[in-house]
Amino acid sequence: MSMHYKKFPRAVVVAILAMSVTMSIAQADDDRDERYGEKSSGKNGGENRGKPLHPAQTNAKFQQECSTCHVAYAPGLLPAESWRKVMAGLDKHFGSDASLDAQDNKEITAFLVSNASNRWNASTAPLRISEAAWFKREHNDREISPAVWKNPQVKSPANCAACHPDAERGDFSERNIKIPK
């Protein structure tokens, strides 16, 4: 038993070290942005996506229900008010009926609202992620040629996974982009 006690903390230390290394790699991209004064809320007019994009603890209902027709967009991509509006209008969800029963709707809304962007300082609340200022800036014509959007493999800005293979996990890092030819 005493041997187990000695082993246990070492394993934990190793795990924590490994986690912190991977986390700092994953966040390196975003941190580079921050040097340009993001904290002053000036950048993107306050329409900034959150950090982290996906909470450590996800929600099974959200994963299941929001990934049937499109990738489950990370809650941190929009502010809380946007999610409230989206979830209140699911019967007319961008041209499709995506309604849920009241109980599922309530549970998913709560999850989205409590994990919404924590860096959104503007009073705006767009329904489309592609209307957010941070999105437009990251995908402007100099970054992404208009031809890319016309590629049938991309089809629509809603199709994150066309170029961000790990969009489902909330990984949109610059290092992990594959634009289809």
Binding site: H70, S99, D101
Partner: protein, 139 residues
């Protein structure tokens, strides 16, 4: 200590997994029977028809999409969401054993898709016809 955690953890995961099974798992034939039962007594009700179901499935009903727009003309093949392009697993029970086994899911999707294709709910006749058709589609 670790080992004890493992055993407990596996036990918990197993129990949770069992509980996550849909409480009212049914077969597609049972779902069809329950549509039949619910429809009984509706004025003008006809016996469910495979041919009518197939034609309903493949025809547009005033809107931009038919059922086949996303599920394709062959419901035993994978489809693609007409707007987002996301892959949709086959709809025919012969090709996808999960289809029409969970009444809650069946109700959710009939509501959504009938609204998209027809702009209103489907009648029990239409649901019965379509399911009768889907049950005849071979893999």
């Amino acid at each position: 200590m670790f080992r004890e955690f493992h055993v407990l953890g596996i036990a918990l995961v197993t129990v949770a997994g069992l509980m996550a099974q849909p409480a009212f798992a049914e077969t597609p034939n049972e779902i069809l029977a329950s549509i039949q039962k619910e429809a009984a007594g509706t004025p003008g009700l006809q016996e469910f028809s495979v041919a009518r179901g197939e034609s309903f499935f493949k025809t547009k009903h005033g809107n931009e999409w038919s059922c086949a727009s996303c599920h394709t003309e062959n419901p035993a093949a994978p489809g693609k969401h007409a707007k987002t392009g996301k892959v949709i697993q086959p709809l025919a029970p012969s090709a996808n054993a999960e289809r029409f086994t969970n009444p809650k899911k069946v109700a959710k999707w009939f509501k959504r898709n009938c609204n998209d294709v027809l702009d209103h709910a489907c009648t029990l006749q239409e649901k019965g016809d379509v399911l009768a058709y889907l049950l005849t589609v071979k893999k």
